[in-house]
């Protein structure tokens, strides 16, 4: 314990600065891909039959596919599409989770039991099966995927929010606020929101990778976005047809980009958790 002083000083940046930089870099990369893909002209990945199956190199960074389309731009565009769907679905999902969690904890009784039953049902079924079912029922396409992902990712957050609110309700300061004449709304706004918000934000960010991954999965399996959309799932599904003939770049680069995006979301979420948690916040 007496040597600790020296080892601490060696780190030029303190933990909080490092964590903040890490979050910023990850967020900038994801936002960059998202915006670039959103405003990309379709000419960037237009068909050039002359260049079909060009391996990765100078002109084609990630190579070209069976129609001679530039894989790099297609990947960026595809990831952007996947991100849009993932983020929107997560947002919808998180709002459902927040509303159900708060309602469940405050209403109690039968309503609480009903919500918990829904949570258990949703978590008991395999995620992917439920997703495919909903997406298929809604006629696939962007709408089907979006609703499918949105309707299957709320249970974890519902549980977290419910537990947080239940715990808050028993605290002395919340009870004291009631005895001092504060209305239910004032107590929720003044006392509960500041505690629930960090839980919600971290939960939301940690939902993103799940949603993006699941969107890509069901699209890959053919139950998601239509084949003409440049989505990561579609690109990966196409690449499977050529992998046997040695066109490795068609699968490797889109897969890598997807994995990197998912990991970065996780990095942001986990580090936000460290910053917002009062126990680890002073490290």
């Amino acid at each position: 314990m007496f040597e600790r002083k020296g080892t601490r000083a060696r780190f030029a940046l303190n933990t909080r600065t490092r964590v903040t930089v890490l979050i910023a870099v990850a967020a900038i990369y994801l936002l960059g891909v998202f915006v670039w893909g959103l405003f990309m002209s379709p000419d960037a990945y237009a068909v050039h039959y002359a260049d079909k199956f060009t391996p990765p190199g100078g002109k084609y960074l990630f190579g070209a596919d069976f129609m001679g389309r530039n894989m790099f731009f297609r990947c960026v565009k595809g990831l952007s599409v996947s991100l849009v769907i993932g983020v929107i679905a997560s947002l919808v999902s998180s709002v459902i989770g927040l509303v159900f969690g708060v309602a469940s904890a405050t209403a109690g009784g039968r309503f609480d039991k009903f919500i918990l039953l829904c949570v258990d049902c949703c978590m008991g079924l395999p995620h992917l099966v439920l997703l495919i079912l909903i997406s298929y029922m809604l006629g696939r396409g962007a709408r089907g995927v979006l609703l499918g992902v949105a309707l299957t990712h709320w249970p974890e957050l519902t549980r977290l929010v419910r537990a947080e609110v239940l715990q808050l309700r028993t605290t002395h300061y919340v009870q004291a606020a009631y005895r001092m004449g504060k209305s239910r709304f004032r107590v929720a706004w003044d006392h509960m929101l500041p505690h629930v918000l960090p839980v919600y934000i971290v939960g939301l960010v940690l939902l993103f990778p799940h949603a993006v991954m699941h969107e890509a999965s069901i699209t890959f399996l053919g139950f998601g976005l239509p084949a003409e959309t440049p989505a990561i799932g579609v690109i990966l599904a196409e690449s499977m047809r050529h992998i046997a003939t040695g066109k490795w770049w068609l699968a490797l680069f889109p897969g890598l980009m997807l994995i990197i995006a998912v990991i970065l979301f996780d990095v942001i979420g986990e580090n936000l958790k460290r910053l917002l948690n009062p126990d680890s916040g002073n490290e």
Partner: protein
């Protein structure tokens, strides 16, 4: 202006042994009563019932002959043993202080609250300092009676004497009634006019 407990009983669940049974207690306006007894005799439970935090299983709490209001500001306020649990850890002290009303500068000075503390959060203040805020917060204009549940047990003796000095001054000026729960007999004798032993009035024991 009197606080009465009529035939109060309390048990956590049906079938479990009662913690309080047929407790009768009456504290008049401006009266200071100490409630003493060993740990586990139901002192804190009685405090929470009298200040409306808990519903009694049987019997009633009367304020001026009426049932204690369930909604709105409760004229009987409770100050607890752990000030750090009674304040929202994410709020600033200035916000905590104004939970029920906005205390004026005289009040803040009388409670020995320094202006520098107002911009801090609860984690940055000591127990004694936080307890001053809890007392100031509970001394709203509508407050008529204070229940003090071991409010100085966790404090050192100098802070304890400071807290009681300012609390007694404030309650005397406004003629507030006081129910003081403590295991410290010397303290009970110092601050109260009458000492009630809970085991003697609690039929559950």
């Amino acid at each position: 202006m009197r606080l009465e407990a009529k035939q109060l009983s309390f048990r956590y669940a049906k079938g479990e042994p009662p913690i309080l049974e047929d407790v009768d207690l009456r504290v008049g306006a401006g009266e200071r009563v100490a409630l003493v007894g060993p740990s586990g005799c139901g002192k804190s439970t009685l405090a929470r019932i009298l200040s409306g935090y808990l519903e009694p299983s049987a019997g009633k709490v009367l304020w001026n002959g009426n049932i204690l209001p369930k909604k709105g500001f409760c004229p009987v306020q409770l100050i607890g043993q752990h000030p750090e649990l009674s304040v929202n850890p994410r709020h600033r002290m200035s916000k905590i202080l104004c939970e029920a009303y906005t205390p004026d500068a005289d009040m803040i000075a009388a409670m020995g609250i320094e202006s520098a503390w107002l911009s801090r959060r609860p984690g940055e203040l000591s127990g004694g300092e936080l307890q001053r805020f809890c007392i100031a917060r509970a001394l709203a204009p509508q407050t008529k009676f204070l229940v003090c549940d071991e409010i100085s047990t966790m404090l050192d003796v100098i802070t304890q004497a400071q807290i009681w000095e300012l609390l007694l001054r404030a309650t005397e000026r406004r003629g507030l009634g006081l129910l003081v729960i403590t295991h410290n007999r010397a303290l009970a004798g110092r601050v109260c006019e009458r000492v009630v032993s809970l085991p003697e009035i609690n039929c559950a024991l």
